[in-house]
Amino acid sequence: MPKVTIDGKSIEVPEGTTILNAARMIGGDIVPPAMCYYSKLKTSGGYCRTCLVKVSKGSEKDPRPMPKLVPSCRQTVMDGMEVENITSPEVVEARAGITEFLLINHPLDCPICDQAGECHLQDLGYEHGKMKTRYEFKRREFEKIDIGDKIKLHMTRCILCYRCVKVADQLCSCRNHGVINRGDVAEISTYIENVVDKDMSGNMIDVCPVGALTDKTFRFKSRVWFTKPVDAHRTCDKCSGKVRLWYKGEEVLRVTARKDKYGEVEDWICNSCRFDHKKTSDWVLETPSHVDHHSVISANHYETEKALENLRSDIEKHQKHLKESKFALGQGVMNPNNQ
């Protein structure tokens, strides 16, 4: 089995494992962020470039370093490969650059976005973004589109990760949406007003790393951090029926698939489970959900101690970051009206 060293930590992984997956096996801070890669979707990854890493030693056979930064989600490991992620200033700078590129046309409407709190771009921005934008031009604008009666498309927030296109390709019976146009006016669209209502299409909402595709049955009902996640299941002939219910009080506000600590779903769920079964009596409740990743959601009502500790350390980290970056909050870009 090839042995790979990432930021000084070694691991033996099966042949054909990508650098990103090897890093996930090691775990911790050295896992590169991934905005477009999704382990459960074939051929995903390689587009967003946030997971770029430096290969400082190609392999035992050919120790030459790779000339360019490589996307860790697509590059498979070789025996003896040495990878630098957070230990390489070049990688960190490149990642900051990519984050900036992803944000220059993003509306930064987190205060009214349903994805806020579980948005990967938000996390990426906090971790690698700058406090002040250097982009002074008008941001890209699109009309909001209803694709079907269950999903809303906010193209302004989209980062073109192609995940939803791959969901339609690989899970649904046919795909009637895709990317049209090119360059920075490329957009996810059904081309001629069409409806995305194939069974399993609801999974697009779950795979969307940003708030571009949102659940219309949940829109504006609540901030996610005010809801309580509970794992539940039911017998479903279309999917595994294993879901996560998000409660506010007695009411189930939304149903999603269960996600792991990298924000990837564990089992796909069908549209019927997601949109049509929103009563506690529809479900067999299992346990309060365990939210693994650093997020405001992990400060839920059950795991206060550990979650609060994490949150506290996060806040301290950002306060330190703020002080170092010289910009006070008030004049920065945290407020989109300042743009």
């Binding site: 590129f101 982009y135 090119r182």
Partner: protein, 446 residues
Amino acid sequence: MSKQILINDLDKAGIDTLAGYKAHGGYTAIEKALKMKPEEIVEEVKKSGIRGRGGAGFPMGMKWSFIAKPPGVPRYLVCNADESEPGTFKDRYLMEKKPHILIEGMIISSFALGANTSYVYIRGEMMYVFHILEKAIQEAYDAGYLGKNILGSGYDLDLHVHCGAGAYICGEETGLIESLEGKRGNPRIKPPFPAVVGLYGCPTVVNNVESLANVAWIVNNSGDEYAKIGIGKSTGTKLISASGHINKPGVYEIELGVPVEEFIYSDDYCGGIRNGKKLKAVVAGGSSVPILPAELILKTAKGEPRLMSYESLSEGGFQTGTMLGSGGFIVMDEDTSIVKNLWNFTRFYHHESCGQCSPCREGTGWMEKILHKFLEGRATMADIDLLWDIQGKIEGKTICPLGEAAAWPVAAAIRHFRSEFEEYVKKGKYMTDVKHYYRINKLQEA
């Protein structure tokens, strides 16, 4: 005049027809090639040292030898005729005037690679060339050079012309393959390379028109003879599309190694700068290669005369050198505004970015908008550094070379002509025709 092997007989009547081409020595190489073993042809091409004429300059024989040969899997040869680099117009000229030289080259190359179906992917805007090729291919079918059992050798080949929809990105080989398969022309992530997984998942070689057109000559005269033309590792001749402020713009075939100074000022080639003006800068290989100021294009940093060859042009790296690229030789006289020229290039790359990966999708548009600010006289000194920073964050971070192609011209212009950017900031020049461009194209101004 130096040696010419591609466009030496364009003045002959009927050279664009099969009969005329044959009368002047065409289609002799096929008979010779079909008697050779495919490996021998690959060996000849390797010996010739010919480098890909599409821009990257990768040795063609080496590319051919990389092709995977799993049993029972078809192999494909695709000719890249999606010539869209601003400043390059050599393939179009060659295909228009002498379509059979490409067809002959493709038949031999397909035989050498073991391909039974080959494609010419031609850019959508060149519809008239598409018709010329279609006609020429029909002639070749009628004469028995294409189809089943070519010249009784037992080798079958079908040649198709496929018309793209006019996208620069489809000139990138994997983008081209995707487009040929009928999908959106997004470049693929490499590896795997097309030599292993290419068209329809099969091993594929993608070659430029000019590269393939040379194959017939190499087979007829041997690779060693070809290697004698040119200089050092830059063997053979090269079609140069000369444009800009020169007296005689057009397509020239040069033997690699001609001094740049001779190429610009000799009456055999460009014939000097128009209206007796002074030379300011040259983009030596199509819009994506770094621009060089007059003193660096005529002489290298070491003071040696610069030659039209792969090595000489790239001497000094990007600090003081450039690339031969696809041979789009754009000459600019002293009145040219580098900033405006750069804006035009950047606008092109912004428009042609496929939008797949974030640095190129967002960065190219951002650079265009900043350069537009310069032309409007609203830029500040900090914008020069910002531009420099953005290009650095695009270069080398993208899936395909379009990112580099967009970043290099910006980097080179700032590196060599920073003072001109500063002048724009200080004087606040305003270009009305820029506004006009946006208006007629119904675009939103930045």
